[in-house]
C-alpha cells in the first residue's frame, strides 16, 4: 500500500537530513593521533603553547570545522542562556536577535509606509510610471554593502545607517509590485466603478486595493526576505549588536560552531518571517 505523498515527502526529508549528518560526521571525524610517545620538556611546552594538550584548561581548540556532536553542544550551550548580558560587546543570542528584528521592523515598516502609497500613485498614472522607471531600475540592484559607506558618511550614525540600508533595499520590490498590481486591475471592474459613479478615492480603496492586494503582498514578502538578508550584512559592517555582529565576533575568533549556529538561526528566523507573510497573503487572495 502506498503511503500518502505528504508522509513520503517527510520521510525523504528525514532521509536527506540523515545523509547530510553522516557526510558531516565523516568529513569532520578527528584524525587518529600519531602514536603517543614521551615528549621532551621543550616539546611538551611547544605542544602546550600550540594548544595541543588537554592540560591547558581551554575547552578545546576552537579552530576547524566542528563535528555534529560539538555543534550540538554549542547549540545547547547557546540556548541554555539566550538572554545574558555581560557588557556592551557580549550579549546572549536572544538579545542579539531582538536587536536585529527591531532594526528590520523599523526599516521595513518605513519602507512599507513609503513604497506602497508611492506605488499606488505610480500604478495609477502611466506617465509617472514611465518617468520614474529609469530611476527605479538603476537604484533597485544596488547592494546594501554599497549603500553602507554612503549612509555612514552622510547620516553620521551607524544605527540609523543600518535602518536606512534596510529601508532603501526593501522598498523597491514593494514599490514595483504595488505599481504593477494597481496598473493591471481589470478594466471591467474600473468601468463598473465608473458606471456606479464612485469617487476616485472610493474607487481606490474599494476596488483597486482589494484587487491589487495579492500582488502587493507578494512584493511585501519579497521585501521581507531582502530586509532579513540585508540586516546580517549591515550588522557585520557596523558592529555593536545584532545577529550579524554575533557572526562577525565569532568569525573574529574563528569559532565556526558558533558561526554555524548563527547561520542556522538566521535561516530559521527568515523562514518564520516568510511564513508569516505567506499567511497574510493567503488571507487577501481571491479566485476569479
Amino acid at each position: 500500500m502506498q503511503a500518502p505523498p505528504r508522509i513520503q515527502a517527510a520521510l525523504l526529508s528525514l532521509l536527506l537530513f540523515g545523509v547530510l549528518l553522516g557526510i558531516w560526521q565523516l568529513a569532520t571525524r578527528p584524525v587518529a593521533d600519531t602514536a603517543a610517545r614521551p615528549l621532551s620538556a621543550a616539546e611538551a611546552e611547544y605542544a602546550e603553547l600550540m594548544g595541543q594538550t588537554a592540560a591547558t584548561g581551554e575547552a578545546e581548540k576552537s579552530n576547524g570545522f566542528p563535528t555534529p556532536w560539538q555543534f550540538a553542544a554549542t547549540v545547547a550551550g547557546q540556548l541554555a542562556d539566550p538572554f545574558y548580558d555581560r557588557g556592551p560587546n557580549d550579549k546572549g543570542i536572544g538579545i542579539q536577535l531582538a536587536h536585529s528584528l527591531g532594526r528590520v521592523a523599523v526599516g521595513y515598516l518605513l519602507a512599507l509606509a513609503v513604497a506602497v502609497p508611492l506605488g499606488f500613485v505610480v500604478g495609477m498614472s502611466p506617465l509617472l510610471q514611465r518617468a520614474l522607471d529609469p530611476f527605479i531600475q538603476v537604484l533597485k540592484p544596488i547592494s546594501p554593502l554599497a549603500w553602507m559607506p554612503i549612509a555612514l558618511y552622510t547620516i553620521r550614525d551607524s544605527t540609523i545607517s543600518g535602518v536606512f540600508v534596510i529601508f532603501i533595499c526593501s522598498a523597491w520590490p514593494m514599490l514595483l509590485n504595488t505599481a504593477f498590481g494597481v496598473a493591471t486591475v481589470r478594466r471591467e471592474w474600473l468601468n463598473v466603478a465608473r458606471t456606479l459613479e464612485l469617487g476616485r478615492l472610493r474607487t481606490a480603496f474599494t476596488v483597486i486595493l482589494p484587487a491589487a492586494a495579492p500582488t502587493i503582498l507578494t512584493g511585501m514578502r519579497i521585501s521581507m526576505g531582502i530586509a532579513w538578508l540585508v540586516i546580517v550584512a549591515a550588522e557585520m559592517l557596523v558592529g555593536g549588536t545584532g545577529i550579524g555582529y554575533f557572526v562577525w565576533n565569532e568569525w573574529n575568533n574563528l569559532k565556526l560552531s558558533n558561526v554555524l549556529f548563527a547561520v542556522l538561526l538566521i535561516g530559521l528566523v527568515g523562514m518564520a518571517l516568510d511564513l508569516l507573510l505567506a499567511g497574510l497573503q493567503r488571507r487577501v487572495s481571491y479566485g476569479d
Binding site: L49, M50, K61, R86, P88, D90, P149, R156, S158
Partner: protein, 464 residues
C-alpha cells in the same frame, strides 16, 4: 585591612609614584626582586584591581607623596590604616580625587576599540576600575574595522578611540576622509606586531625571493603598512610593483592565509600567534626586528572634544596612562591575557594572547622562543615618531609636495600633555622627553628627525 597591598600605600618608606618599594635604584631592579611575590598576587585580577584602586585612593588622599610619608611616619601605619578605612568606601575618595581638578563636563563616554592586543591599556582601564576612579562611565565599543573607527569618531558617535597611530595624522590632513583635527593623546603600545608567512614558505625566508607575493595589511595608514613596505624595500623589492599589498581585516588574514589567497601578512597580535596556533603559518620576524620600540596603535580623540571637555579629557588621559604603566610591567602580563581574552573584549583563546604579550611563544616551526620585549606599552607620543610616519607617507606618495613635518607632528601628538600628566602621576620620564625628538634606528639605518626631507630623499625605492 590586611597589609599585603601590592603597592604598599601604607608604607612610609615607599615612593608611591615611582619604584613601588623605594629600595631599588630603578623600577627594573625592583621588578626582579618582587617578581615572584607580585606574580602570585597579580594572578588574581580581583586582588590586583583592589590593590590598584586602594593605592590610587590613598594617593588621591595625599597628592604629595611627601605629605603621605610624613603622615604615616607621624601616626604610625596601623592608625593611618584605621583612619583611612573610616574614610573608605571608595566612592568618597573618588569624589575627593575629582575635586582636585575641575568638574567633569561629560561623564558617560563611548570609547571604540579593535579587538587586538594593542588595545590593552584602554581595555584594562575598564576591569581595573581606572575610568571609574576618575569619575568616568565608559562604554567600550568593539568596532568592526579601522575605516569604521575613523567614521564613528568623525561623526561623534565615539568620544575617543583606539587608532592606528598614523591615522590621526592622516585624518588631520584630510587623507582618505574629510579633514578634521584629530589628536594622539598616548601611544597605546610599542612593538608587538610580526610578519607571519604561510607554512609553505618555511624554507623561503629571504625577502629577495618574494617577488609576486601577496601580503595583507590592516589599513593603509598603519605602521604595519609602513614597516612592511620599509622591510621589503630594504631588500630590494618595490612594494607597489613587485608584491601585492591588500587591506584586510585581521580575522580575514587568517582565513585568507589558510585558503592560500595570501602568502603572509604584517598584522597585529594576537593574529600572528593565532596563525601559529591554527597551524597555518609561522612567525618570520617580529616587528621589533625592523624597528625596536616602534609605536603601533594610539589613543586618540578629536581636537574639538578636547576643547569642549578639558577636564574629562584630563581624567580620561590619567586613566589610560595608569593602565599603560600597569600593562608595561611584565609581571602583570599573564593576568592581562586572562582579563582581555573573554568575548566582551578580544574573544580569543587566552593561551594565544598570553604568548604574544609575554614573549614566550611557539614560532610555528617547532621552536619555543623567548623574547620578553616582543610587546610593550609605552604611552609617550614622541614627535620623532610622528615625523617618521610622515616621511613614510611622503615616501610612498600618500602626501604630495612640501610637508611641515615638525609643525604637524607637534600639533597632532600631544606630548606636552602626556609629559605633564605623567609627571603628576609620578611616572618616570626619559630625559629626551623634554624635547620630544630622538634619533630612531630602523633596520640599522639612522633616522634624524631634524632632517626628514633628506631621509626621504635617501631611499632608493620611493614614489616621490
Amino acid at each position: 585591612m590586611p597589609d599585603d597591598n601590592l603597592y604598599r600605600p601604607y608604607d612610609a618608606e615607599v615612593a608611591l609614584g615611582g619604584c613601588s618599594c623605594g629600595q631599588h635604584a630603578s623600577q627594573h631592579e625592583h621588578d626582579a626582586a618582587a617578581a615572584a611575590r607580585r606574580q602570585q598576587r597579580a594572578r588574581a585580577a580581583d586582588t590586583l584591581s583592589q590593590d590598584f584602586v586602594e593605592a590610587a585612593a590613598v594617593r588621591a588622599l595625599f597628592p604629595h607623596d611627601a605629605t603621605r610619608r610624613r603622615f604615616l611616619a607621624a601616626v604610625g601605619k596601623a592608625t593611618a590604616m584605621a583612619a583611612i578605612a573610616s574614610v573608605l568606601p571608595l566612592p568618597a575618595l573618588q569624589a575627593m580625587a575629582q575635586e582636585s581638578g575641575g568638574a567633569l563636563e561629560k561623564k558617560h563616554l563611548n570609547i571604540g576599540f579593535i579587538p587586538i592586543n594593542c588595545a590593552t591599556p584602554l581595555i584594562m582601564a575598564d576591569p581595573l576600575g581606572l575610568y571609574r576612579e576618575q569619575g568616568l562611565e565608559v562604554t567600550l565599543q568593539k568596532t568592526a574595522g579601522w575605516a569604521l573607527v575613523r567614521d564613528r569618531v568623525l561623526n561623534g558617535e565615539l568620544d575617543a578611540s583606539h587608532f592606528l597611530s598614523p591615522m590621526p595624522l592622516a585624518i588631520s590632513m584630510g587623507l582618505g576622509s574629510a579633514p578634521q583635527p584629530m589628536r594622539v593623546a598616548t601611544i597605546q603600545n610599542v612593538n608587538g606586531q610580526a610578519i607571519t608567512l604561510a607554512l609553505k614558505h618555511r624554507n623561503n625566508r629571504d625577502p629577495r625571493n618574494w617577488k609576486g607575493f601577496k601580503f595583507a595589511i590592516p589599513f593603509e595608514f598603519s605602521m604595519h603598512n609602513f614597516l612592511l613596505r620599509y622591510y621589503l624595500a630594504e631588500h630590494g623589492l618595490d612594494p607597489d610593483r613587485d608584491v601585492q599589498l591588500r587591506v584586510t581585516p585581521p580575522p580575514e588574514m587568517i582565513a585568507n592565509l589558510r585558503a592560500g589567497n595570501i602568502d603572509g601578512f604584517l598584522g597585529p597580535d594576537p593574529f600572528n600567534q593565532r596563525a601559529v596556533y591554527d597551524e597555518i603559518g609561522f612567525i618570520h620576524i617580529l616587528s621589533k626586528d625592523i624597528w625596536d620600540g616602534h609605536p603601533c596603535c594610539a589613543f586618540g580623540l578629536s581636537a574639538e572634544f578636547i576643547r569642549a571637555n578639558p577636564n574629562t579629557y584630563a581624567a580620561l588621559y590619567r586613566a589610560v596612562l595608569k593602565a599603560a604603566a600597569m600593562a608595561s610591567d611584565p609581571a602583570n602580563r599573564p593576568m592581562i591575557a586572562k582579563a582581555i581574552a573573554p568575548q566582551n573584549y578580544l574573544n580569543q583563546p587566552e593561551v594565544v594572547i598570553r604568548q604574544a604579550l609575554t614573549g614566550r611563544y611557539a614560532d610555528g616551526l617547532g621552536n619555543v622562543c623567548d623574547v620578553p620585549d616582543r610587546a610593550d606599552f609605552a604611552p609617550l607620543p614622541w614627535y620623532s615618531m610622528a615625523v617618521w610616519m610622515l616621511t613614510q607617507m611622503q615616501r610612498w606618495g600618500y602626501v604630495k609636495g612640501e610637508l611641515d613635518y615638525r609643525g604637524l607632528a607637534e600639533q597632532v601628538f600631544l606630548l606636552t600633555d602626556a609629559r605633564r600628566l605623567m609627571q603628576e602621576l609620578g611616572e618616570p620620564l626619559p630625559p629626551q622627553a623634554q624635547i620630544g625628538y630622538r634619533k630612531i634606528r630602523v633596520m640599522g639605518r639612522e633616522f634624524d628627525p631634524a632632517q626628514p626631507q633628506a631621509y626621504v630623499d635617501g631611499f632608493a625605492i620611493r614614489r616621490s
